[in-house]
Symmetry: C2
Subunit: 145 residues, 2 copies
């Protein structure tokens, strides 16, 4: 998801290219390991270079970014949401129960075959799924007890 492409997306959908939106985009594209960010973290990142942006602008634009498919919304049951750039390739996460660090895994356990079977049996139209693995990362494992 390149920046130019996103700018184009904004244009096509009638959204204005405001400096705030560009900053938010940069917060994600500049986040090289694509570690999922909370709204608060996005805000903190931007404040360094653009001090006047409000947290509410972050929230409002995260919704816009979501609707355009620029980012994904994730929930690691911390009482808040996290967001990551939509890389296009489907993946899930490992989440450390102690330090909260997350790591992408390419592995996805859900197959179209299962999908169809469940849809038919349960009369339920499946649109998306989420799969998270919780445990202890290498570092926390040692000090777990």
């Amino acid at each position: 998801m390149k920046e130019d492409y996103v700018i184009e997306l904004f244009r096509k959908n009638g959204y204005k290219i405001t400096p705030q939106r560009q900053e938010i985009l940069k917060a994600f594209t500049g986040n090289h390991d694509n570690h999922p960010l909370s709204a608060e973290e996005v805000h903190q990142k931007i404040i360094e270079s653009y001090p006047n942006i409000g947290i509410d602008t972050i929230y409002r634009n995260l919704i816009v970014f979501l609707n355009l498919g620029i980012i994904n919304k994730l929930n690691f049951r911390e009482g808040k949401s996290r967001y990551e750039l939509n890389s296009g390739k489907h993946h899930h996460h490992l989440v450390c129960l102690k330090c909260g660090i997350t790591e992408e895994i390419d592995y996805c356990p859900f197959k179209t075959l299962d999908w169809e079977k469940i849809e038919e049996e349960k009369k339920f139209e499946i649109k998306k799924h989420s799969f998270e693995l919780f445990g202890y990362c290498e570092l926390c494992r040692e000090k777990k007890h």
Copy 2:
């Protein structure tokens, strides 16, 4: 998970058997389809027969119940958590994106084989996982658009 067994669990772990705890337990065991309940819903259920219980008592005891493994905590990204009686048999949920209704499915896509591979590759000790399918239930499907 029978009530007597839970009472015994409380005893063994040094928790007192208060009427509030018994009410909370009943809220779950009496919830026959095991539809996951929010803290607020548990509170509402109990208030009918035990009007003086505080929502904070619910919250504090949900944590106790969780620690004892009596209930599971679920998150369907509604901005709040839900809880269900721990039936002992592992399962996941279908969640309707429109009306929010949930349905249990026995299906679990995650196999020990995958587990071990990921643990080794990522040096991550997996303790639990969650898997949710989001989509539209039969009723909402028709009026979706």
